[in-house]
Symmetry: D2
Subunit: 366 residues, 4 copies
């Protein structure tokens, strides 16, 4: 893998702050703080989110790398303070012994990092695992992605996402242009471009909420304005479809990634599947903008399967690690459905992938 | 990404040889040459393959890294000579001017690297692109994977694959154990464990062949015997689901990757989806063996959507790059369906991912 | 290169903060905040430092990765706020237009990043370069190194440094044990174990100061308690001598690195140079603890040539970039001699190298 | 580190072949096979080499990545067959049990990888270590470097080296231009530009040979024609001086690296050391072409301390690992002095570093 844009994120869910450092962003890229905070806000909305979203209202501080609204070429340091930390100073104290008895959490939630994490990291307090495994980390990713989006804008590349389905309710998008989809999806709290299914989706979410259950769905992420030839077939770890799958599958709750017509596309014959070329352009985009591990100039179209989140109010069966008895899982705070927000995080992951590939791919021929 | 096991592959489809070097394999791993060549052979069979598979009959030479059937810890150099090279010495001559007029290929095939490759690598002869973009590269990957499989065997980890669907014919695997699936899939040239659909599948392939068309399908890859805790949620680029998606989506023709119940699983409620824990084990494996970016001890289950290959005997519409006129695409040699062979390549990719993760993940806690 | 312990640093010299994130530190490592701040303090002392050292008095805040004095295995986020930032809010404003006229700096200092930086990063204000190129960055490195030192302590590995020479005054260390060197070097502001030369060294520094000039010297960095076999000859980019040279030569002002007897050692015959082995141990340590790219169990001994710093009160000839006329260089604040402090930074760089190698090198044989 | 040009080498000293794969070389670079073999030959000459150099006469086969003398942008696979392998098929057999009793080597040579290697790689036969730890690996490095040199030629960057000293005999190069040095150094088997010291050097080598001893020395490597701004201070692992030190210190026998005036330069005052700028250019090059971790347009000048090789005909004291008794070390074939050849290998390492940096450093500002 050619890594040109490096970044690290840090932060526990209830620690003092989430932070990130980006290294490798070129100098002289115009960056607006409002554009970053706008993405932070988009990540927090969505029908079906729990109470904490109101506490958070994340805002970003930039500690380095930008002067007079332009990147310096130096590492960009991002700080997102946790408004809620003051209530957690006992439980999340960094140095010294705990001031009071800290009750360890010992009830792993199926579907979460809890069980494997306790074994791998040799701890008997689940909090040592769930604090970092929390989706709170995606706040940092969205901030990093927001900076990459502004970099991509200088290349006229734009990224958006919209909800394809919630549980088994699917949007019908036949004949709607991408421009239209973007506008419509940004106008409702399900981030779905088919207004006719919004009521059903909300009803499903309400029902799950009443039952202490959770819901997943499918999100589509699209990038337009791409040059031809990002990525490469020359070595398999440089293929842009692989890189996209890597970065998007690494988002919490994502269990599937498909590009273009994906899993349903393979039911077609080769003559139906492949996007024939004419002087006027392509007849279709089943390839989702990627052929031979490279962009082909068409929009990149990716869909991600987002599983129902694994923290249920009505908790699942599990095994208490301290007593080795069967019981119900730990229940941390709970959202019911994060599909609309997941789209925003996935946009960020795609933005980071594309920014890195643009930067890494120069001079592939002389 | 923690890269502990590095490898590079090289080789043009009609060049003198395909080669690979693996660096980072520990010393003292028992390796059999037959086991490597067995995987090479598995890659070449499959109903629907074209004529070249008979020419190839790949065998591997090891040039370094192994002594008396044990790894030395040094780089392992792999050589797969192209039996067919003598017929290509004019067209693929490495040094000096061509001896005769070489007709450049100028008709990009939709679905292939051709069009984007010519632009990115600034060439007007498509052969400079298609030689490396060819799936011939996967011979090297299978050899690398075969060595990783033998490494994994020392951990009792086993990997296999089987065909889920060809075009719109799907196998029914209800109630069949993994052990059974492995045996059955290895016993037919479609690598499919449901014998009742083999005739339909073969018929589809024959029909496509007659029409000069191609077919795709879905393959499932499974790893068993895994320890708990491979991969990590501590930084998103260390999640094993992301790493698997990266390596499998980078295989030619793959357009989708799903883990566990994947895209269909998101139609379930959280209480139905998540794999409840009991003292006796898990009640289900919708997670496909991965929670929180780590293995949870259950089998890893991944499915890949393999598109119909893009070289059709009945070629697609394209644009001649030299004349900028509409015409039909170039037609290199042609398989009809590579789904059974793709499974073998995907096994190799999974083996490489797991071997790397095992090696990279030591001492995550002291 | 096997990168197991990743870190990024960020921060401009006069920006709001210096920060760093470390990823890959195992869980359950005992960390004391005082031990980190102790290293921060060691970096700031030293005869010949300028006024800013009094302003700085760096203290570290940990934003993540540690709970109840133990690492969680998650990224460790480090924040070092710049006490002085309030005086720089105009000049270093991050977003929006400058509030007042900012005079660009256009006089590159020979020996610094100024000239090449302005060209590479396409800026006409040298401040955009010198803020990040400043040795202020080493504050972050020392904090990262301080955490690595505590990790190494769990392996009984200890690192120290001492001044070998200031300009052309050399310490005489014949017959002094490492234990003794450590104690003596920590007891004076030149960090030199030969007390008999301290007066001469201080006199040289005073003289240079009076003349508006600067001084360099040589520092020795030593690591003891090492296991046999860190690093590897199996691939040249895994050799621990290369990795040490990489990390130490990347410290500002370092122009040479030698291991063991280094440049003078090559005047010996092979039979004199190589460290013969006996049942009782080695007869000498000309190899500086490294043979064949691996530690051999003897102390690692490295010396670094630290050039006189390039910001002189009596500035050097340069060319004004805005007018292309010959003139005198820009003069930012100035130290006279940083050799004692450089030793502390070099210790950090060695600690980071060793920590990474220990973590990256497990299971090199099964 | 930004890795844009990846390469792996492989091969045991007495195995069937040395090989390498380079990934990331751009398309359309003109490559001549003769130019590669010319470098292979330069590596093999030199007063003081042993008998094997006559056996070797290495020639390179290219298995991929080049067509009609131009790179394709695909991985370049390099094969150097060992003419001598037929005599080693018993001892270096790859698969199966040994055909006859293989006597393990158990006498580690001080100064070599032997002792640490046996422990790290858990073997009781030293051959498993010394085969890969042998300087034979540098044949692959020189081939890789020869390709990089041809890439650099398209940027008008040239690299050469010459011997500064053998043991304690130093060349006097006052007032000789680089052009002159290159010509003179290529004209004698010591690769030294001061003809007046050749006799003394040869005499030293002869004397050591008679006594079964070995000799080291110092080599200088120079690159000219460099653009301003390769490398970067923006993150310390991107500094070009660090990268050069990494790659050159990783060459067998190198124990020290200095840039520009290096260790002796630190005896100067800042006002003497730094290279003042005038409209007509720099007054000196004490910085060795690198300021702030970047090239400044002046020639890069690096010197390497090359230790006497550790295989002596008159072997050193060691400990027999099998019996744990004191004895004399194993004596594999032996050169007396490799300093002239080391220069050629160090040129290759510098060429690789610069090629990678040029490729990795594009678009550092927009």
């Amino acid at each position: 893998m050619r890594e040109r844009l490096r970044y690290l994120t840090a932060g526990e869910s209830h620690g003092p702050a989430i932070s990130a450092i980006i290294e490798g962003m070129p100098a002289n890229v115009f960056i607006e703080l409002d554009a970053i905070n706008h993405e932070m806000k988009r990540r927090q909305i969505g029908y079906g989110r729990g109470g904490r979203m109101k506490i958070e209202s994340d805002t970003v501080k930039i500690l380095s790398g930008i002067r007079f609204s332009k990147t310096l070429g130096s590492p960009i340091s991002i700080l997102i303070e946790n408004a809620d930390f003051e209530n957690w100073t006992e439980k999340m104290k960094q140095f010294g012994e705990p001031n009071c008895k800290i009750e360890p959490i010992t009830l792993p939630r199926p579907g979460h990092a809890d069980y494997s994490g306790m074994i791998k990291y040799k701890t008997d307090d689940l909090r040592n695992i769930l604090e970092r495994a929390s989706a709170r980390e995606t706040a940092a990713k969205v901030a990093v992605g927001a900076i990459c989006k502004q970099f991509l804008k200088t290349y006229n590349i734009h990224i958006f996402s919209h909800t394809i389905s919630i549980k088994d309710t699917y949007a019908n998008l036949d004949g709607i242009s991408y421009d239209d989809i973007t506008i419509r999806a940004e106008n409702n709290d399900l981030r779905c471009a088919d207004e006719s299914v919004l009521d059903t989706m909300r009803h499903e979410i309400d029902k799950a909420k009443d039952e202490g259950d959770t819901l997943g769905g499918i999100t589509e992420i699209v990038a337009t304005g791409l040059p031809v030839g990002l990525g490469s077939f020359m070595h398999s770890d440089r293929k842009i479809d692989g890189l996209i799958a890597y970065n998007l599958m690494s988002i919490p709750s994502v269990k599937g990634i498909e590009i273009g017509s994906g899993f349903s596309g393979v039911q077609k014959l080769g003559s139906e599947f492949h996007d024939e070329m004419y002087l006027s352009g392509r007849a279709s985009n089943n390839a989702g903008g990627i052929e031979g591990g490279m962009t082909n100039g068409e929009p990149i179209v990716v869909r991600a399967a987002v599983k129902p989140i694994p923290t249920l109010k009505k908790p699942l069966n599990t095994v208490d690690i301290s007593t080795m008895t069967e019981t119900k899982a730990h229940s941390e705070r709970s959202d019911v459905c994060v599909v609309p927000a997941a789209g925003v995080v996935l946009e960020a992951a795609l933005a980071i992938t594309l920014a890195n590939t643009i930067l890494a791919d120069n001079e592939d021929s002389i």
